[in-house]
C-alpha cells in the first residue's frame, strides 16, 4: 500500500477522531461524510469529534487463520465494540487472556502496531483495546 492511504487516516486511527452531526448530535466512528439520519441537512455540519476510547464488548472472536499481514500473530482476539459515545467499531483486544473476555466486558483504547508493509515497508499504527 502506498503511504497516503494510511497517512490520511492517522487522526482516526491514532486518536479515535470521528465525526459528530451537529444537527442531531449523533457521533460516528469511523468518520462518515454524511449523517445517515439527517442526510442533506448534515451537509457541512459534520465536525471532528474525539472519542474517549472506552467501550463495551458486543461480540468477539479469536482469529486462528490470519490474513497475510497478520501471519505469525495468531491467535488474536478481534471484537465488535460499542463505544460509549454510541458508534460500534471493530478492534483487536490485547493483553487479555481468551477466557477473561466476555460479552459486556469494558475495554479502553491503547496504541499499538497494527501491521507493516513487510520488513522494508512503512509501519502502520493504530488503536487496539485492553481491559479497562
Amino acid at each position: 500500500m502506498a503511504v497516503p492511504r494510511y497517512w490520511r487516516e492517522i487522526p482516526a486511527r491514532y486518536n479515535l477522531i470521528g465525526k459528530k452531526c451537529t444537527v442531531c448530535g449523533r457521533v460516528y466512528f469511523p468518520p462518515r461524510p454524511i449523517c445517515p439520519v439527517c442526510r442533506r441537512k448534515s451537509a457541512g455540519k459534520m465536525v471532528d469529534y474525539k472519542l474517549k476510547g472506552t467501550g463495551t464488548v458486543v461480540s468477539y472472536t479469536v482469529i486462528h487463520s490470519p490474513p497475510p499481514h497478520f501471519e505469525g500473530e495468531e491467535p488474536y482476539v478481534m471484537a465488535l465494540i460499542k463505544m460509549d459515545e454510541g458508534p460500534h467499531l471493530i478492534g483487536e483486544i490485547v493483553d487479555c487472556e481468551e477466557d477473561e473476555i466476555k460479552i459486556g466486558m469494558r475495554v479502553k483504547a491503547t496504541f499499538r502496531r497494527i501491521m507493516d508493509d513487510g520488513e522494508k515497508g512503512a509501519i502502520y499504527y493504530g488503536y487496539k483495546f485492553v481491559k479497562e
Binding site: 487463520s65 490470519p66 490474513p67 491467535p75 471493530i90
Partner: protein, 388 residues
C-alpha cells in the same frame, strides 16, 4: 414486464480444479448452459457475468469480453457486462439478466458466474475475500471474513442460546445433501463430532463451519416465457427477483443477530411474488458459514428469530424435512466459487423444479427460492422460481 424463464443451465464441477483456468471454467459452464437450452450462439442477445475478484485471484479484470472471446461469440458484438457484489456477484448477474429480459430490452440472455480461487495461496485468498468487508476499518485491523461471521455467531449464541452443535448440524446436513450432488466439492458425509473436532478458524467457527475455497463456474440462459416454450416443456419461471443493500461494514448495522439485508430482500421477493414463506417448497440459502444458514432461514421468515439452530438440529431443514434447505449441499459442501454461487443456486432450484435433481430430488417441488449474500451482509439477492 414480461415473465422470464430459465431455459438452460450448466455448471462445471466445483472444487480445486487444478488443471483448469478461469477462462476454461467460464467456457465450460457457458457451453453447457447453451447446449442445455438448445440455443445457438447467434441467438444470444446479451451476456452478464458475475465475479467477485478475478483481479485479486487471477489478475484479470474486464472478464466480460474475455467470456465472449472464450465462448467464440465475438462476431455478434453483443453487450457483455461484468457485475460485482462480492459473494452476491452471481445473484446480481442473474437479476440483471432477469431485468433485461423482463423489460423487453433483450430476449435471450446468458448469465454466468465464475471464480478461480486456487490460483493464489490460501492466505492470499483470505485477503482477497476480506476486501468484501470494510478494508479500512475491518480488514485493516486484522479482521477476516470468517471472523465477521464468528462475531455474529457468538452474538447469536449469546442472545438465543444457539449451540456449537446446532451450528455443526448445518454442516452435517449440507454435507449429506452434497454427497448426492455429482458437482459438489465435498461428497464426504460428516458428523457433528467431525465439525467440533476440526481446527478453529475464527472462534466459535471451526473449519467445517466454513465454506471452502473453490474453483467453478455456472451459467444459465434466460428467455421470456413465451419464447421459452419454443425450447422446452419444463418451464421454470421467475416469480420474483429482489435485491437489497446495507452498510458494507458489520459495525454500522442496525442489528447483529440478523442480516437486515436478507430481511429486506426476502420481504421484497415475497411481495413481488404474492407469496409467503409457507408457499416455498425448498430454498438454497447463502451458507458461507453455518451461522449464515441459521440466520438466513430466520431472516427469510421460515423460522422465528433465534430458532434456526434448533430447527436445523431437529431436521426440519433436511432433505426430507418440512423445508429442505440447501439440497445442493450449499456453499458448505457443494463449494463456494464466490462469483458463481448465486448462479449455481438458481441452477439447483431449476433442476429440482424440473425434477432432474437425481438422488437429492425433493418430491413435488414446485416453488423454490434462492438467497445470495455479498460480504457480511452488504448485499442480498433473493429469487423465487416456479415450475409451470
Amino acid at each position: 414486464m414480461r415473465e422470464v424463464a430459465v431455459i438452460g443451465v450448466g455448471m462445471t464441477k466445483f472444487g480445486e480444479i487444478w488443471d483448469k483456468s478461469f477462462r476454461d471454467l467460464v467456457a465450460e459452464a457457458g457451453m453447457k448452459a447453451i447446449m442445455d437450452a438448445g440455443i445457438e450462439g447467434k441467438d444470444i442477445d446479451a451476456m452478464y457475468i458475475g465475479g467477485m475478484s478475478s483481479g485479486g485471484f487471477v489478475e484479470q479484470e474486464h472478464v466480460a469480453p474475455l467470456a465472449i472471446e472464450v465462448a467464440g461469440l465475438e462476431e455478434f458484438h453483443i453487450p457483455a457486462t461484468r457485475v460485482e457484489g462480492a459473494c452476491a456477484s452471481g445473484g446480481i448477474a442473474v437479476r440483471h439478466g432477469y431485468m433485461a429480459v423482463a423489460s423487453g430490452m433483450h430476449d435471450i440472455v446468458i448469465v454466468g458466474g465464475a471464480e478461480k480461487m486456487t490460483d493464489v495461496a490460501g492466505t492470499e485468498a483470505t485477503n482477497v475475500l476480506a476486501s468484501a468487508a470494510d478494508r479500512e476499518w475491518e480488514a485493516f485491523f486484522g479482521m477476516t471474513f470468517p471472523g465477521l461471521y464468528a462475531l455474529m455467531a457468538r452474538y447469536h449464541m449469546h442472545k438465543y442460546g444457539t449451540t456449537p452443535e446446532q451450528l455443526a448440524s448445518v454442516a452435517v446436513k449440507n454435507h449429506y445433501n452434497g454427497s448426492m450432488n455429482p458437482n459438489a466439492q465435498y461428497k464426504r458425509r460428516i458428523t457433528v463430532d467431525d465439525v467440533l473436532a476440526s481446527p478453529m478458524v475464527a472462534d466459535p467457527l471451526h473449519l467445517l463451519d466454513c465454506s471452502p475455497i473453490t474453483d467453478g463456474a455456472a451459467a444459465i440462459v434466460l428467455a421470456p416465457v413465451d419464447i421459452a416454450k419454443e425450447y422446452t416443456d419444463k418451464i421454470v419461471r421467475f416469480r420474483a427477483s429482489a435485491q437489497a443493500s446495507d452498510t458494507i461494514s458489520l459495525f454500522n448495522r442496525s442489528r447483529f443477530d440478523a442480516l437486515p439485508v436478507t430481511i429486506h430482500a426476502g420481504e421484497r421477493a415475497f411481495k413481488q411474488a404474492g407469496l409467503t414463506p409457507k408457499d416455498i417448497d425448498l430454498v438454497e440459502v447463502h451458507d458461507c458459514f453455518t451461522i449464515a444458514e441459521i440466520m438466513a432461514i430466520e431472516d427469510l421468515g421460515f423460522f422465528k428469530k433465534g430458532e434456526g439452530g434448533k430447527a436445523t438440529e431437529e431436521g426440519l431443514t433436511a432433505l426430507d424435512g418440512e423445508l429442505p434447505v440447501n439440497t445442493s449441499g450449499g456453499l458448505k459442501s457443494k463449494g463456494h466459487p464466490v462469483g458463481a454461487t448465486g448462479v449455481a443456486q438458481v441452477i439447483e432450484i431449476t433442476l429440482q423444479l424440473r425434477g432432474e435433481a437425481g438422488e437429492r430430488q425433493v418430491k413435488d417441488a414446485r416453488i423454490g427460492m434462492t438467497h445470495n449474500v455479498g460480504g457480511s451482509g452488504g448485499t442480498a439477492v433473493v429469487n423465487i422460481l416456479e415450475a409451470i
